[in-house]
Symmetry: C2
Subunit: 139 residues, 2 copies
């Protein structure tokens, strides 16, 4: 199978196994939707309705649980751009985001295209876990 996207292809089953997640029917189906194609941004709601459209039976609660399990396993990255709605990104490499405020859509900015040139040291006793840059755009 080929993909049009520049992303290391890996069978959903292998991804789950490698992450120590039991490959249940629901997890496999969601993993296929998420990873068999281009990088994408989903919300629990959007993934759930996509699953429904594809005749995959998964409850919304399981979609939430699965998204968090995938995130913990490093298969997804959670992006916080909107208080009151969680986005998940299948692209877990170092990069930032455009957030279109009217439509609520996210677009990746390749890591190399944003350079945070200076950063103050983390407060005493803490360390930097991640730096998120959100470029908020509008029409």
């Amino acid at each position: 199978m080929t993909t049009l996207c520049q992303r290391p292809y890996r069978h959903a089953l292998d991804r789950l196994r490698a992450s120590g997640l039991r490959p249940t029917r629901q997890r496999l189906a969601l993993a296929k939707l998420l990873f068999d194609g281009c990088d994408r941004h989903v919300t629990a709601e959007s993934l759930h309705s996509e699953a429904s459209t594809s005749d995959i039976q998964v409850s919304l609660a399981t979609v939430y649980n699965t998204l968090h399990q995938f995130t913990e396993a490093g298969l997804l990255r959670e992006i916080v751009v909107d208080a009151g709605r969680s986005y998940f990104d299948t692209n877990v490499s170092d990069h930032h985001h455009f957030f279109h405020e009217r439509t609520g859509s996210l677009t990746d900015i390749p890591g190399a295209e944003v350079v945070v040139a200076q950063l103050p040291p983390a407060p005493a006793g803490t360390k930097i876990r991640r730096v998120d840059v959100i470029v908020r755009i509008q029409d």
Copy 2:
């Protein structure tokens, strides 16, 4: 009256008047809590309980409404760091934030201490409204 903080002092009443907001008892009381002192970060819940402690009677709904009205008027800035909870910052000048993930606390980073050296152009037909840099820290 003096303040220990380097911030242009302005009476709460004047701020409201200048913003075209009718200075009601509730708005005045909340404005005093927010602006008579150092810059701060609040959530609706935290401001509401602070008001209660100070024997200020305001409903939570009014706190929400007021925070949004202040934000629209440019007196506050909303910071999105946590899906499911809105933070508001009394510092509306150009700056970024440390977000301590365990405690949920926000700290300002002066604008000059973070330099986003490169930015790709906004997608066609859009313009950049703001660039938010969130430095997520942990113990």
